[in-house]
Symmetry: C2
Subunit: 278 residues, 2 copies
């Protein structure tokens, strides 16, 4: 089964395009008042998110930076989180935004997209900035192992247009062409397109019918559910809408959250899932 087929099946099975971000912000971890073992708190939080997401959504998206800042023990938690999520049937999108040349890009791909990868992901976010030749090692790994990529195209931050604007359409054309030449339907080379600029999202959706979008920006970053839904194709496929803060943290201290994070997150996921559908 190709990456796109697996992702389509997961979206249909969950009846949702919601992708839950696993962003362990250290100042929001449940239980932080009772323990100073940050690595253990992160491990418990990441596990709670995966188990809360299981069966409810198609995908989770661990954010590598939050694990990396805790050093090798944090990276061990990341490895365990990726493995657990895949075991539980979730599509795992490694949000690492990697990009480098030749052999170095191959090493990043090996770390995440190979069968024996220490941080096993179904797809990886990558940066196109170094040039199309630097994406080839990632594409080769994705093709060989039936994995996917999400290429940064139009990010959700306020300053994204400054340097992305001038080259966006050329990168978009390159991505769509890579999908087209792999056959009809949605391909393995996705794009990260924020929901915060809805006009851009809509026009890219029209230009890129064969491309999965990974859509950040919904909720805490200001985009509405309707903005995010502009990423979907008429068949309800073609987009994963990411939510981390809105689905996994309370906005103010909450005793229920600390008492049973997995249950709290599971309820919140149900709420966010309904928001995106309606």
């Amino acid at each position: 089964m190709t990456f796109s087929e697996r992702l389509s099946a997961a979206v249909r099975a969950a009846d949702s395009c919601l992708c839950i971000g696993i962003d362990p912000w250290l100042d929001r971890l449940p239980g932080r008042a009772d323990s100073t073992d940050t690595v253990a708190l992160v491990a418990a939080f990441a596990r709670a998110v995966v188990l809360a997401a299981e069966g409810q959504v198609p995908a989770v998206k661990p954010q590598f930076a939050f694990f990396e800042q805790l050093g090798p023990p944090g990276m061990a938690v990341l490895a365990d989180t990726c493995k657990l999520a895949r075991e539980r049937g979730l599509v795992v999108i490694g949000d690492a935004k990697r990009g480098d040349i030749g052999s170095t890009a191959s090493a990043y791909a090996s770390a995440t997209l190979s069968p024996g990868a220490p941080f096993p992901c179904d797809a990886l976010t990558v940066s196109p900035f170094l040039g199309p030749d630097t994406l080839d090692p990632f594409l080769e790994a994705a093709d060989r192992h039936q994995r996917g990529l999400f290429v940064l195209l139009r990010t959700s931050n306020p300053g994204s247009h400054r340097w992305q604007g001038a080259i966006r359409d050329d990168i978009a054309g390159w991505i769509e062409a890579e999908n087209q030449r792999r056959g009809p339907g949605l391909g393995p080379v996705g794009a990260v397109v924020g929901a915060t600029k809805r006009d851009d999202l809509q026009s890219l959706r029209d230009q890129m019918p064969g491309t999965w979008f990974l859509v950040p920006g919904f909720g805490a970053q200001g985009a509405s559910a309707a903005d995010a839904r502009a990423a979907l194709r008429p068949d309800g496929l073609g987009a994963l809408v990411a939510s981390a803060r809105g689905a996994t943290f309370p906005s103010a201290p909450d005793a229920d959250y600390d008492a049973d994070p997995q249950r709290w997150i599971r309820s919140r996921i149900a709420v966010v899932k309904a928001e995106i559908r309606d």
Copy 2:
């Protein structure tokens, strides 16, 4: 002492602008015929490079990807390598090409540029693609802790012009302005500029008198010593020329290398150092 002052002092003390890349290619590790413990082989190689570089060159540049592909144990070797190199007085440039928004960028900066960083670096390579606002967390960490950045500007790979070309001058102007507003002389916000297109390197050098360049592309990637020297200011400062393959691996199996890698690398570093100077 600022990052730029430390780097200038290191260049003068070593009488060299050579930066030794620590790129543990798994198929080139010394001793690989006698051991299958890849993590131990990488650790021994990285240690040999650091000890061979000590006192000969100003800086080393560990390439994060090659450690990440070995999982958490590989990341532990990376952490040890960064620590050992700093203890031995080398300026450590973490070649991670990180880039992300807001809190995620802060987490990457915390992993590398903070006083308690698990992977302690004096400077970090970062990607500008997401926009200038996404570089702010890295700049804040660099300013607070007297560290440096090297922003990808014109990379050494064949396809770098495709997407960097249209935005290169605006990014260059932004980098130089960040240095100018921090005072006269060379600032903490460096740029990665490959030696493989000498005309570009020369024109960027002229446009960016206050910016340190990190210059890949010399040797194995095809640029000559004269190409790389175009990155230097008339005072002999302002550039670090990177060499990994040429300084740390033999091009064919070599018994002397396997017998005493540190000694072999030390001799090679002396040769490459002389090539760049002449």
